[in-house]
């Protein structure tokens, strides 16, 4: 049986080039399905990686209770004072607590690629702000001077938007700013932000003395317990305390899920189309070989080798499609920079990441399409009437 099956399978695979048009169409349609799926998965995992990279365990974020996102939060000056004396917060060299009160507003930028306007986060932060981003590095220029209309921009902003080159003057809303530095935070969401002095932002945007978040360096990741307890037991404070990692995981969850919820159904719908294509190609393959298959049966070959050979052909085509899709997605998308609206309605720039795990899932999807598309034609191959030997 093994010899028979091997012989018929090889016979079948060798004949693929004779039906190259149909076979190629099958490979390409399956490649497309896998490409779409992997594209979405790469987007989701790239977005997650960017957002995850932004979070550290020894930085705490405090927002107004129930605010969920910075945008909706409002924290008063009095609240900040109460937090400054909280336990678990690390002290700087100057003996002051490592705390940054922050406020961000939405500014307009012109995207380089499309020349259209897109939202950018303009963050006002205290002097400890940069130190609270572990991978912060000044790439060019210097930090802004407090009390001036100077700003520093994340490297993604410089890459994706027009007019943020070092030394450039730029108008954001009704105000004129000067770019004095370019920073990196190692690919995290902050690279998509513009930073300026908190007091200047509060003034220009009429926010009084209120901020949105308080960011604090903890003495250790465990110290968040002590801080949370203090905040809970202090009746004047209505704040939610989260580690930065937990905060970003929560805000990324929605976007990542959205990407995945779009990606899978779309890939699934396309898979049904590819299934029809594979089915058609396999029917054509079996039909083209009707007389051959009948002749083999007349010689004494069983039906199983014909079935196995047809399924194998379908799986080989599907596997090729899966690989083409995966390789193409990798070449086209891996590392490609993209931006999307983060949970604060601002652009988060991130890189697509085609992961090995996603490739495996894509190839499995391709093989499922191949198997389902080849199954019925394979049964037909096994049941070719013997009298078809006389077909001409």
């Amino acid at each position: 049986m093994l010899k028979q099956t091997t012989a018929v399978t090889l016979l079948n695979l060798r004949s693929i080039p004779q039906r190259w048009g149909m076979s190629l169409a099958t490979v390409l349609s399956i490649a497309l399905v896998v490409g779409v799926l992997l594209g979405f998965m790469a987007m989701a995992s790239g977005f997650r990686a960017t957002v995850d990279g932004a979070g550290s365990d020894d930085v705490a974020i405090m927002l107004r209770g129930g605010a969920m996102a910075e945008m909706n939060s409002n924290v008063s000056r009095d609240d900040v004072r109460l937090v400054e004396i909280a336990p678990g917060i690390a002290m700087g060299d100057d003996g002051e607590p490592l705390i940054s009160s922050e406020l961000y507003v939405v500014a307009d930028g012109i995207k380089r690629t499309t020349q259209t306007r897109a939202n950018l986060a303009l963050r006002g932060l205290g002097r400890h702000g940069p130190a609270l981003r572990p991978q912060f590095d000044m790439l060019e220029g210097r930090m802004f001077e407090p009390g001036t209309a100077e700003l520093v921009v994340g490297e993604s902003v410089l890459r994706e938007f027009d007019g943020f080159e070092l030394g450039q003057s730029i108008r954001l809303g009704s105000n004129e700013w000067t770019v004095v530095g370019v920073f990196s935070t190692g690919g995290s969401v902050f690279d998509s932000e513009i930073w300026a002095d908190l007091g200047v932002i509060q003034n220009l945007y009429d926010r009084g003395s209120s901020v949105q978040t308080i960011r604090a360096r903890l003495t250790s990741p465990e110290a968040i317990e002590a801080l949370s307890e203090y905040v809970e037991n202090e009746p004047r404070l209505n704040l939610e305390v989260l580690s930065e990692r937990a905060y970003f995981a929560r805000s990324a969850g929605g976007t990542t899920n959205l990407i995945m919820f779009l990606g899978w159904p779309l890939a699934f719908a396309m898979a049904i189309g590819a299934l029809a294509g594979a089915w058609n190609a396999m029917y054509a393959s079996v039909d083209a070989r009707t007389r051959e298959l009948a002749t083999l049966r007349a010689i004494g070959f069983g039906g199983f080798p014909a079935f196995f050979a047809a399924i194998t052909e379908a799986l080989v085509l599907a596997f090729a499609g899966g690989l083409v899709g995966a390789v193409a997605t990798y070449l086209l998308f891996d590392g490609v920079s993209a931006s999307t609206l983060g949970s604060g309605f601002t652009q988060v720039v991130f890189a697509f990441a085609v992961t090995p795990d996603a490739v495996v899932q894509g190839v499995i999807l391709a093989l499922i399409v191949g198997f389902l598309g080849g199954f019925i034609p394979a049964i037909r191959a096994a049941r070719i009437p013997l009298l078809a030997v006389h077909n001409d």
Binding site: L11, R297, L387, V389
Partner: protein
């Protein structure tokens, strides 16, 4: 009743088709005996059931009623699986359009029936070489069917039919697609297989000249045989 020297015995063989509401009988109550070593040409007008008879003898079709007995054993009531095994062991087929696998070389085509045996790779190669030698195609062993003429392809098909040493060769219009000279060469090869190697051959043809190579000619007409003796 079985005849010990008979290879085939057909008893009251009928084949009917249903076409819409009508039932058409190809033949009805056919009786016939084929002896070991016979070379029979079955002739007759189109639609007389020549090929249908050959299909029944080769176990690739089943009669509506009656019996096909081969070496004393009924084959018409065997299961598909048993019948496939029977064909592999006993019958070699030669078709009008050769039915070779286009992607395989001549030698690989000839080897196909041997894949159903327990022969080793080496033994299979030797058998293939012998079979190709008999039909004079050893020097074309590596060629694909597309690189061979019609006559050469039919020789390869004959080699495939004899390679597993079956008891009977069943040929359906083996020269129907060939010119006269090539046809004569093929028929001489069949005659040689019959006379030298003692193969029983049953050949369907509508060509009287082809039939003249056979030892017996049977004319199938309106579901009955008329035998013509040879001069």
């Amino acid at each position: 009743m079985t005849d010990a020297s008979a290879l085939y015995q057909l008893k009251g063989l009928s084949k009917r088709y249903t076409r819409g509401k009508e039932t058409v009988a190809i033949f009805d109550g056919l009786d016939m005996t084929i002896s070991q070593g016979d070379f029979i040409a079955i002739m007759g007008p189109s639609g007389s059931g020549k090929t249908t008879l050959l299909n029944l003898l080769g176990g690739i079709d089943k009669p509506s009623s009656g019996e096909v007995v081969f070496e004393g054993q009924r084959i018409d009531n065997l299961s598909q699986g048993r019948l496939a095994k029977w064909r592999a062991k006993n019958a070699g087929f030669i078709f009008q359009f050769y039915n070779l696998m286009p992607t395989l070389s001549a030698a690989q085509n000839v080897e196909l029936p041997l894949l159903l045996t327990s022969l080793s790779g080496k033994a299979r190669k030797e058998r293939v070489k012998t079979a190709l030698d008999i039909v004079g195609m050893v020097d074309r062993a590596g060629h694909r069917p597309g690189q061979l003429s019609g006559g050469q392809q039919q020789r390869v098909a004959i080699a495939r039919a004899i390679v597993a040493d079956p008891k009977v060769l069943l040929a359906d219009e083996p020269t129907g697609d060939l010119d006269r000279t090539t046809a004569d060469e093929i028929l001489q090869t069949l005659q040689l297989l019959n006379k030298e190697l003692g193969k029983t051959i049953i050949m369907v043809t509508h060509d009287p000249e082809a039939a003249s190579y056979a030892a017996r000619e049977l004319h199938l007409n309106k579901g009955r045989f008329e035998e013509k003796g040879k001069a």
